[in-house]
């Protein structure tokens, strides 16, 4: 620590950094979960696109 900083600055910085770190960890976890949801949605979209031609063919034949 330099002379210009008040004593115990390290502890104060550590406390606020801990708060920030907890928030960051939480947001990383939520980001991973959001990415998983996006991936699953993309899978479902592919599934729907694959199914669509056969579905429309079935509808045409029933008419």
């Amino acid at each position: 620590m330099t002379d210009t900083l008040p004593p115990n600055t390290g502890y104060v910085a550590a406390a606020y950094l801990v708060f920030l770190l907890i928030l960051l960890i939480y947001f990383v976890i939520m980001a991973i979960r959001t990415a998983r949801v996006e991936r699953e949605l993309a899978e479902l979209l592919t599934k729907v696109e694959r199914r669509s031609p056969s579905d429309s063919a079935a509808e045409t034949s029933s008419q």
């Binding site: 550590a14 606020y16 708060f19 939520m30 979960r33």
Partner: protein, 250 residues
């Protein structure tokens, strides 16, 4: 097909913006407006993050209990989700309060932890009590029973929190200050403004994160419902055992 209603994310952007503004302002107030305390010096600045975290933690646990009562009365799974989220986030904030408190203790008293101090030990007991909430939920497979037992836990533990708080206030403090008490350390006005703005900021952060978590869980439930409705075999996949509440998608 699942509904496309957004139940939890509706006011989320507004809360997020308010949180960012108030939290930034409160940190600025704590460092640039509130004076340096005479006894503790600069380390007292930890107070503006530690005490709001502790208060919001206990508030979150109490709200978990209130939502638990609402679930037991109505059987509505949305209340179970709210109770679960309030307790889950309360635990995360509790970890923050414990760590920042420990750092403050080291700076102010020269020790990381004081076992003779009722305030500290009772807070640790509350933390350990709520640590059993997730394993309790996980141990019960049936979703309805899981929600019911978790609600009972949330109510009983939620009642314990204020009772414990009052008991600690009545006990004679060793070294932990009673900052907001009628006797002893009442805050000067400039410190009070910084403190209440920090409390508001942390409360808004808690609400925002709770809403974010619930919106995320609801999205995943909607996705699972969509997957089921698109499933060619039409047989539901075996439910994965989880501590999180099951959300009914109509």
């Amino acid at each position: 097909m699942p509904t496309t209603k957004s139940l939890y994310g509706r006011r989320l952007p507004g809360y997020a913006i308010a949180t960012a503004i108030v939290l930034t302002a409160s940190i600025a107030l704590a460092f640039f407006y509130a004076p340096i305390e005479v006894d503790q010096g600069f380390s007292q600045k930890i107070f503006y993050i530690h005490v709001p975290l502790a208060i919001v933690t206990l508030g979150g646990f109490v709200f978990g209990g209130i939502f638990g009562i609402q679930y037991l009365r109505s059987g509505d799974t949305r209340h179970d989700l709210r109770s679960y989220t309030a307790i889950h986030q309360g635990l995360i904030f509790c970890i923050g309060a414990l760590i920042t408190g420990s750092i403050w203790a080291k700076a102010a008293w020269g020790q990381w932890w004081v076992w003779d101090e009722p305030t500290l030990v009772s807070f640790l007991i509350v933390f350990l009590l709520y640590c059993t909430y997730q394993p309790l939920r996980f141990s019960i497979e049936d979703p309805e029973r899981q929600a019911r037992y978790a609600a009972v836990f949330a109510v009983v533990a939620g009642v314990f929190v204020p009772v414990n708080f009052i008991a600690v206030r009545l006990a004679s403090p060793l070294i932990h200050p009673r900052v907001l008490g009628s006797s002893g350390g009442s805050l000067p006005n400039d410190m009070r403004i910084a403190f209440y703005s920090a409390l508001l900021g942390i409360t808004l952060l808690f609400i925002t994160i709770c809403k974010y978590e619930m919106a995320s869980k609801h999205s995943r439930a909607q996705l699972a419902a969509l997957r089921r409705s698109l499933s060619e075999e039409d047989d539901e996949p075996a439910a994965i055992r989880t501590a999180a509440p099951r959300i009914a998608i109509k």
